[in-house]
């Protein structure tokens, strides 16, 4: 019964949203009615609340194990803790789409109600978000209905959540990521509304600035959490794999980062307005594209949901129409937008527009990497795959150019250029320090890879530029933009950590019988396989291995496991990680060989935790920026 009510509420939201669109469409041709806006707002709020209540009821159903609902029965289980019963909702396609729609609704209702009733864009923005929410609700109900019942008999027990998803990081990763993705519906709808409105004298940046910053934070946390989960739970042993689904998350992130910078410039000096609007539209268009790639099953990936061409086609048509609508108005309005002054070379704006160009180049490169296999397959039926070498080669030069521009732009001025001499003076120390640092790394490691060293140089260039500014601020009280400094130090550290990780890390495949111990290398003098046990847990069997290492004069105990889950028969690898400041010692067990010995994969990952640390620095920088804005 509750299931039906929940279903009915979602359907009612569809009806109300359609009503808003229909009657506003008719009024569009006639005179504006005085109550038109207030009625639209009321209906809109009601529709949003219907979606929320519907979702809350669905959560209630999941907690109370209503296995007559097909989706809950195939993804949850009565034995699960409540936390995972709830997170099982977004462990597969239908429920995660529901969550996506709920977040979309939440962002929209907050944003619409934050605008004054007299705001010149309120009505058009409201219509845009209504259209988008309606599109996703219809997608949910028509092609991926989570409310479907199994009649006449419900299941007695659920089929259980996929064991690799029973993890706190993964329970939070999708909500964070979705909050980020759909958060940019605000900038998208608002900019489209602004372009429709057509009066470009009016201010618009400040209304969406903080919303976009917050959405950026969620997106960053979502991506970082996903990468962390893949590292320690999936047993992949790395942090980024250029998997298609990672790529479709990275594209909106890059667009959003460019948008942030561009918005900053256009709120200061009205140039780059065209760029900013384009980027604002692009972010959400890329989010929609990502949703399409993941949900249509068009590309094989760890994240692919069940393939269903019907879903793919719906999403493709819907996101295509929405994107074309926005880009069409944008293209139509470009001539009237372009009235602003040209950019002075060497000014801050010129560097920021370089930044935009670099970011869009990166997005394009990733886009090419994602679609290239499909294009080749369409042309001659061959299967090719695009891997890390492609991305590494493309990104390393981009990283270097970015670093140089960041270094140069730090001291640049709005709308004015500065004499070359002052740049030479300001960049002298960072460049020298970075060269020294790169040499130092080479001296210690004695390995050489041109791409990684470019990465190290670029990272340290950004890092030293900002560290010197922090020192200047500390001793001479020179002005510093704190949020920006923290975020860019994060970026520098990220480049450094990634590059150092790629040259220093190594992997050993070992092969030992229980009780045996061997010498691995100078750092790991002893690797002993102490014990192996077979244990029984409530819903899985465990092969648990105890290993002790003598690493750098210290004794380390590791306990990797293999689990076989009863309900799904799935085998998962539980890696065991020992973390020190510089490196992670990462151990997983493989298979038993015929002579009774076991294979081990031992990975020494340098600076890997620093990658997530630098991501959190970026988030912190953004938080500082937001709070500073609220405070002033």
């Amino acid at each position: 019964m509750i299931g039906e009510i929940s279903h009915f509420l979602s359907l009612s939201a569809v009806v109300i949203l359609s009503l808003i669109l229909i009657f506003n469409f008719f009024f569009f041709f006639g005179k504006i009615h005085p109550n038109q806006l207030s009625l639209s707002i009321r209906l809109f709020n009601q529709a949003c609340w219907l979606v929320f209540i519907s979702f809350a009821m669905y959560v209630y159903l999941a907690i109370n194990d209503d296995f007559s609902i097909a989706y809950i029965a195939s993804h949850s289980n009565s034995q699960l803790p409540i936390f995972y019963k709830i997170s099982s909702i977004w462990s597969a396609h239908e429920g995660s789409m529901f969550l996506w729609t709920v977040f979309l609704t939440a962002w929209s209702i907050f944003f619409i109600n934050s605008l004054d009733d007299s705001h010149f864009l309120k009505k058009t923005t409201l219509l845009m978000v209504s259209l988008i929410i309606l599109g996703f609700l219809l997608f949910l109900l028509l092609t991926s209905n989570p409310f479907e019942r199994v009649l006449p008999f419900g299941a007695i027990e659920g089929a259980d959540i996929n064991p690799v998803l029973q993890d706190p990081a993964l329970a939070i990763h999708p909500p964070m990521l979705y909050l980020g993705y759909v958060g940019f519906v605000i900038s998208f709808s608002y900019i489209t509304a602004y372009l429709f409105h057509g009066n470009f004298e009016l201010e618009w940046e400040k209304d969406i600035k903080n919303w976009s910053l917050v959405a950026w934070i969620f997106l960053t946390i979502g991506i970082a959490l996903g990468s962390w989960w893949a590292y320690y739970e999936l047993g992949w042993g790395g942090y980024w794999f250029w998997d298609p689904v990672e790529n479709v998350a990275l594209m909106p992130w890059l667009a959003a980062t460019a948008f942030m910078h561009s918005l900053y410039a256009s709120s200061k000096s009205s140039v780059l307005k065209t760029w900013t609007m384009f980027l604002g539209i692009l972010i959400f268009a890329l989010s929609l594209f990502g949703a399409f790639i993941v949900r249509s099953g068009i590309i094989d990936s760890v994240h692919s949901f069940a393939n269903d061409p019907q879903r793919g086609l719906y999403l493709l048509i819907f996101s295509g129409l929405i994107t074309l609508l926005a880009l069409g108005v944008f293209a139509y309005r470009i001539p009237s937008l372009n009235a602003s002054k040209f950019v002075v070379s060497g000014s801050k704006e010129s560097f920021l527009s370089m930044n935009n160009i670099l970011m869009v180049t990166s997005i394009f490169s990733i886009f090419l990497g994602v679609t290239y296999p499909l294009i080749i397959e369409a042309i001659n039926g061959e299967k090719v795959s695009i891997g890390p070498p492609y991305y590494n080669t493309i990104f390393t030069p981009l990283v270097l150019i970015t670093a140089i521009f960041i270094m140069a732009s730090v001291d640049s001025l709005w709308q004015r250029s500065k004499p070359i001499k002052s740049y030479v003076y300001k960049t002298f120390f960072p460049v020298i320090l970075s060269i020294l640092f790169t040499y130092f790394v080479w001296h210690i490691t004695e390995t050489f890879s041109i791409l990684s060293y470019i990465g190290i140089f670029s990272g340290s260039l950004i890092l030293f530029t900002y560290l010197l500014r922090v020192l200047n601020n500390f001793f001479y009280k020179k002005f510093i933009n704190k949020g920006s400094a923290v975020a860019h130090i994060g970026l520098g550290l990220l480049f450094l950590a990634v590059s150092l990780n790629s040259i220093l890390s190594y992997e050993k495949n070992l092969n030992l019988a229980p009780g045996e111990s061997i010498f691995v290398n100078e750092s790991i003098k002893e690797f002993s396989f102490d014990d192996i046990k077979v244990l029984k847990a409530s819903n899985h069997d465990v092969i648990s291995v105890e290993v002790s290492l003598l690493q750098d004069g210290k004794n380390i105990f590791l306990n990797p496991q293999k689990r076989k889950y009863a309900t799904r028969g799935q085998i998962t690898t539980e890696s065991s990680i020992y973390t020190s400041i510089l490196k992670d010692t990462y151990l997983t067990i493989g298979d038993q060989l015929e002579n009774g010995s076991w294979t081990f994969a031992l990975k020494i990952n340098y600076f890997i935790k620093w990658i997530w640390f630098s991501a959190s620095l970026m988030v912190m920088g953004m938080l500082i920026t937001i709070f500073k804005k609220i405070a002033t």
Partner: protein, 173 residues
């Protein structure tokens, strides 16, 4: 220049969307035609009553259906399987990660469309067969797996994928 730029901004997305629509529509047609025939893996298992089942039981035209009492979709496809067995299609059940008490009770409650059910509590045969979950159906002709359907067996899938192959095979003999 400005005009062509404006034109491009609209044209490029249109090209991209048409391309993806194309890929999407082609894939649907080709998905099932790419299956390569393989031997049914050798196995030594019992049926639900403990009587040994051998590969010889899979001679002739057989539909192997992977099911379990905990699987809900199996219940959904059950009426259609019953219809098939009434139409003299020989269906061999592969009871997947289940207990035979529950499985037998399930068959008693809902009816038994299977000529025999292989009892595979650990999922060994299912693993060799490449089963990803229940339900799944395989068309086996003379110990050769010739086609495969993941998920619920529907009349449409039966008509488009399995039925033509069965026709072809029975015409030969």
């Amino acid at each position: 220049m400005n005009k062509s730029l404006r034109f491009l901004i609209v044209l490029v997305p249109i090209i991209i969307f048409t391309f993806f629509a194309n890929v999407l529509l082609i894939e649907e047609d080709e998905k099932f035609s790419k299956f390569t025939t393989k031997n049914f893996p050798p196995f030594e298992l019992n049926d639900l009553n403990g009587i040994p089942v051998k590969n010889e039981h899979l001679d002739g035209i057989k539909l192997v259906n992977v099911w379990a009492s905990w699987c809900i979709t199996c219940l959904v496809e059950h009426p259609f399987l019953t219809k098939l067995s009434d139409a003299n299609i020989q269906i061999v059940g592969l009871n997947y990660k289940d207990s035979n008490i529950k499985a037998s009770a399930w068959l008693q409650k809902h009816g038994n469309p299977y000529i025999l059910t292989i009892y595979d509590p650990r999922g060994d045969l299912a693993f060799d067969l490449g089963v990803t979950g229940a339900p799944e159906s395989y068309l086996v002709i003379d110990n050769q797996v010739v086609a495969h359907i993941q998920g619920e067996m529907t009349p449409k899938k039966w008509e488009t994928i399995f039925h033509p192959l069965i026709k072809k095979a029975s015409n030969k003999t």
